[in-house]
């Protein structure tokens, strides 16, 4: 399988993530969309690392390192985001951003 296949999958995942964020009314699906975008980037990092440094240069692991850090980053972000969503749920009894609308002009 060539590099093109990996890029196609990651691009599809990225597009799906964006669609999930734009279409879904529930904040939990929005957070899932964000995770999908980050994982699309991870596929890219690992694939590019594998194909760009194929010949002998095993020492360059930048892309794979980046992917590992992005996984950590996504976990941290999910923890903070879920705490915030939980707090919003306690106060508004809803997890739909459209129903929390105190801040208007």
């Amino acid at each position: 399988m060539g590099l093109g296949a990996y890029i196609a999958v990651s691009a599809a995942l990225f597009a799906l993530g964006i669609v999930a964020i734009l279409v879904r009314r529930n904040v939990l699906y929005v957070l899932m969309g964000i995770e999908m975008i980050l994982n699309a980037a991870n596929i890219n990092f690992v694939a590019f690392n594998r194909f760009n440094h194929a010949e002998g240069s095993q020492s360059n692991l930048d892309g794979r390192m980046f992917a590992i850090f992005v996984i950590i980053l996504a976990a941290a972000e999910a923890a903070v985001a879920l705490a915030i969503v939980l707090n919003v749920f306690h106060l508004f009894n809803s997890v739909k951003p459209a129903e929390a609308d105190l801040l208007r002009e």
């Binding site: 890029i7 990651s10 990225f14 993530g17 964020i21 904040v27 929005v30 957070l31 969309g33 964000i34 975008i37 980050l38 699309a40 980037a41 991870n42 890219n44 990092f45 694939a47 590019f48 760009n52 440094h53 360059n60 930048d62 892309g63 390192m65 980046f66 850090f69 992005v70 980053l73 941290a76 972000e77 903070v80 985001a81 705490a83 915030i84 969503v85 707090n87 919003v88 106060l91 508004f92 951003p97 929390a100 609308d101 105190l102 801040l103 002009e105």
Partner: protein, 495 residues
Amino acid sequence: MSNPYLEGLASIAPEIVLTVTALAALVFDLVVKGRESVRVGYLSLAGLAATAWFLFGQWGVESHMAYGMVSVDQFGNFFKLFTVAALAVVVLYVMHDRRERTSGVGEYYFLLLGAAIGIFFMVSTNNLLLMVLGFELLSLSSYSLAGFHKGNRKSAEASMKYVIFGGLSTGIMVYGISLLYGLTGTIDLSLMATSPNLVAQVGSNPIPFGIATVLILAGFAYKISLAPFHFWTPDVYEGAPTPVTTFLAVASKAAGFGALLRFLAALFLGQGATALGGYGERVALMLGLLAAITMTLGNFAALRQSSLKRMLAYSSIAHAGYVVVGIACMTREGFSAAMYYLAAYYFMNLGAFGFLVYFEGVTGSDTIDSLKGMGFKAPLISIIMVAFLVSLTGLPPTVGFYGKYLLFVEGVDEGLLWLVMIAALNSVVSLFYYLRVAKALFLEKPAEQDAAPAPVLTGFVTVLGLATVGFGLYVAPLESWATRSLDLIRGVAGS
């Protein structure tokens, strides 16, 4: 010191001091508990002073890298000192905000210091991985800070909107970085511009590079609230506690600009400038268009606001537009004008928010109507506020005027006359809503309500006011600082 590891430690001493301070603040908060948490504030101030001392120790040190990731240079130093100075003011506001004091929790300081650590790494690295980590450390702390008052519905809503927009923009930026990594085979900005892969690619088909650049710029645009990524700004600024809003409007925004300038300088102003052909110009044109949209949107929306806090939010969007005029020049002079304007923005915006902190404590409201006639009850701070408003509009003799002057001159020099015209017209529009505040303060009947004095806060805002006027009359020090800081970014950008 021959040990390279120890030498590296000396290079990142300010970051280490800041980290230790943050952890100490967290532990100290557990020890003192509850209402004594003002003491944690003093600890934070002491830590910030120590950090500033180490930063001054690095003043004029030759640009070099620590651990192959952190670049120690005058450019990073500019933004770090800016952050420390802004954070010290924010900590003082937290300590003297009547509303914050009653809730009195010390994690506030820990989160603020954590955000500052993020900023430090974000503005002083050419390595995109470290930049993203700094960016995210800043973002995560900011999300928590925006929702700091857990029982407050506005605060909760603000933090939710912030985390959704922030997560989306970070995701888009990381995806853009992954594409750029694929094109260049490196995550080091200073190697990217000269990467043979990239040069060949841009020569044959520039579209992938264009997509990657636009996606990465989206992440920065969110941090500096540049249209069309500004939607979160008014809601978050209004819902967050006022000292946090101050932090977001000044320190967080400047950090976004710092990282953006470094990114653009490495790709389009360094050695790669010729290799990347006319690409820098196209990016500059795009930034110019976004700047025009941003300031027009910000200023016209600010006209309709009844809340001073929300009005300042829109005004900060407009000011991001002005700064981007300098960046759109894509020259070193333009970049240093942008940095000068950020320094000007520091004084006038921190001052205006200090006024807001004071009056929220007095009247319990952030509407412009509630300020009616208060100018006679608290004359000193109100007169100083008028100086900030004049500076925000960009009239002499203030620091805001000279900042705009530098930006406009550079814009005209680079043939961006249309953009400068739009910015100048926008300044006229902004006069209307800034003057509305001054009118409410002084041209109404004196208010019934008495304003309890807050000597420390008033004194502090006065200092900022004097600086706003003083640096407007005597421009040399700030300007030479901004220019010299930029000289040294190039050493690291590989030229």
